[in-house]
């Protein structure tokens, strides 16, 4: 016999793995679009710290002169991104999964402890149920960023028909910059996410595919803070029910 913990509901796994290639297409096609007008840089005084992007970067990725192609992919796969995102958010809230995801006031203190632990500056990891404080903040923020990308995206897609939205976001040029900054945020999230998943190991990774993880009775990486809950009697893949009582 093995003790397993049902970690990721089936729906969440589908949303996650559909989102991965779709966001990749959105970022790649977005880069093809951005190339045609690429003014953004980080500079201190006259010194350019970081230019988005150097010609060598574009050349290496075969970006130049593909604006039309980029727009075509962007304006097709945006619908998949939006639909998948709406279903994900709706599912998360209806199923009660949000209780694992939305940070509370403890999450920020916990996140600090997690960062210290991950950097090897602290020996103890704060206890958590599904996600630790840092994960909650990261995953919840990336969901908000997704909403932000859709809103800033529509603000530059239809700046006349939805002019109020463009205005609220600070105007057409500001909305384009915001859309870009959010994309940089997704790329940074992606790198941190992949590194952390690699660090967490195979058992954690495979649970995003199988949904469950085999529990080792004494796992120092995953301190259990409460006694075992009774096994679900119905379909084990059904969403976690909120324990309000």
């Amino acid at each position: 016999m093995k003790r397993i913990v049902h970690k990721h509901p089936l729906a969440i796994r589908w949303f996650h793995w559909i989102n991965f290639p779709v966001v990749f297409v959105m970022i790649w096609s977005g880069l093809l679009i951005y190339w045609a007008y690429d003014p953004y840089k980080i500079q201190i005084g006259d010194y350019v710290l970081l230019s988005f992007f150097p010609d060598s970067f574009y050349k290496a990725l075969k970006v130049p002169f593909r604006l039309a192609e980029g727009m075509a992919w962007h304006w097709v796969f945006m619908w998949v991104f939006i639909l998948n995102g709406i279903l994900y958010v709706a599912y998360t809230f209806i199923s009660g999964e949000w209780r694992h995801l939305v940070p509370d006031r403890n999450s920020f203190r916990e996140a600090g402890q997690v960062v210290l632990y991950d950097l090897g500056l602290s020996k103890t990891q704060p206890p958590f149920v599904k996600y630790n404080g840092a994960q909650k903040i990261a995953y919840f923020t990336v969901m908000l960023m997704g909403i932000g990308s859709v809103l800033t995206g529509f603000a530059i897609y239809k700046p006349v028909q939805i002019a109020w939205l463009t205005t609220v976001l600070g105007g057409y040029e500001a909305a384009r910059l915001e859309h870009f900054v959010l994309t940089v945020g997704f790329v940074l999230f992606f790198f941190v996410h992949v590194i952390q998943v690699a660090r967490a190991g195979w058992h954690n990774f495979q649970s995003m595919i199988t949904g469950f993880e085999v529990v080792k009775p004494t796992d120092p990486e995953r301190p259990v803070n409460q006694p075992v809950t009774p096994a679900p009697t119905s379909d084990p893949l059904s969403p976690t029910q909120p324990a309000l009582s």
């Binding site: 397993i4 679009i33 007008y37 003014p39 192609e69 075509a72 403890n106 206890p127 096994a231 909120p242």
Partner: protein, 266 residues
């Protein structure tokens, strides 16, 4: 405490054969889904082009036009600014169709069904009420610039000369079926050409423009008469209009033929 609201994850004791079977099925489905999405990519990438872009993408972009038309409204106006904020001079970004000097005997030709083409001088356009607009001109490349233009409303022009309809009457919003679905425009040398849906053409901010920053527009901006259509990207703002015509079919469009979306409505 966060634990008070966050439920524990459900746990279960199962035989090892069950975890092995579940794992196998999950990874099998995962592999199938990965193959499916790769297949979808290959299907699109290997499709024939439809006007310079992969056919499945073109079909969805055409659907996007239908979606956009559900919320397009003449009441949705591009935000306007004080003319003092306008760029002087306005940016020039293309010479297709205006590479040679404009002919001295330029006239605007307007094709009509069941009638001789109209041939009009600039005086005919200037006789219509003049409207000014300072707005953010938006290029499909991504840049934008506040620009100040003046001219006659295209809708006033169509009404005054009873154009754009099958009946030969002035366009009537109560009789949308009487309208041709598109307006086509091209430069005198036919080197640049655009097609515009009739709704966007009739938008109150769509101008037959003849002034930029209070001066007659110069050769590079398409003298003597150009289209200023704030509900579209710059590519539709045809310079040096030579001929205007109406059709239900989409008129040919320079950049749409080169892989860009046809509608490009903002």
């Amino acid at each position: 405490m966060s634990q008070s609201t966050e439920p524990n994850l459900p746990e279960e004791d199962v035989p090892e054969s069950v975890t092995r079977r579940k794992t196998l099925i999950s990874f099998g489905v995962f592999a199938l889904a990965a193959a499916g999405s790769t297949g979808l990519y290959k299907y699109i990438a290997d499709s024939k082009n439809a006007m310079g872009v992969k056919r499945p993408l073109r079909l969805v972009m055409n659907e996007n036009e239908a979606i956009a038309k559900t919320y397009f409204s003449n009441a949705h106006l591009v935000p306007t600014f004080d003319p003092k904020q306008a760029a002087r001079p306005a940016r020039v970004n293309g010479y297709e169709g205006i590479k040679k000097p404009v002919a001295d005997d330029w006239q605007l030709q307007v094709d009509r069904p069941n009638a001789e083409p109209l041939l009009l001088s600039m005086d005919a356009i200037k006789a219509l009420p003049k409207h000014e607009i300072t707005y953010e001109f938006k290029c499909i490349e991504g840049w934008s610039q506040k620009q100040h233009w003046a001219g006659a409303r295209l809708s006033d022009f169509l009404a005054a000369y009873k154009l754009g309809t099958r009946s030969g009457n002035a366009p009537n919003p109560d009789q949308p079926d009487d309208l041709f679905r598109h307006v086509g425009m091209e430069t005198p040398d036919k080197g640049y050409y655009v097609g515009i849906d009739i709704e966007s053409a009739l938008h109150p901010q769509t101008l037959l423009a003849y002034e930029n920053n209070g001066q007659p527009i110069n050769a590079q901006h398409g003298a003597p008469l150009r289209l200023i259509i704030p509900v579209k990207y710059g590519v539709k703002n045809l310079k040096r209009i030579g001929r205007i015509f109406f059709s239900d079919e989409r008129p040919r469009d320079f950049w749409a033929e080169r892989g860009y979306d046809y509608y490009v409505g903002l």
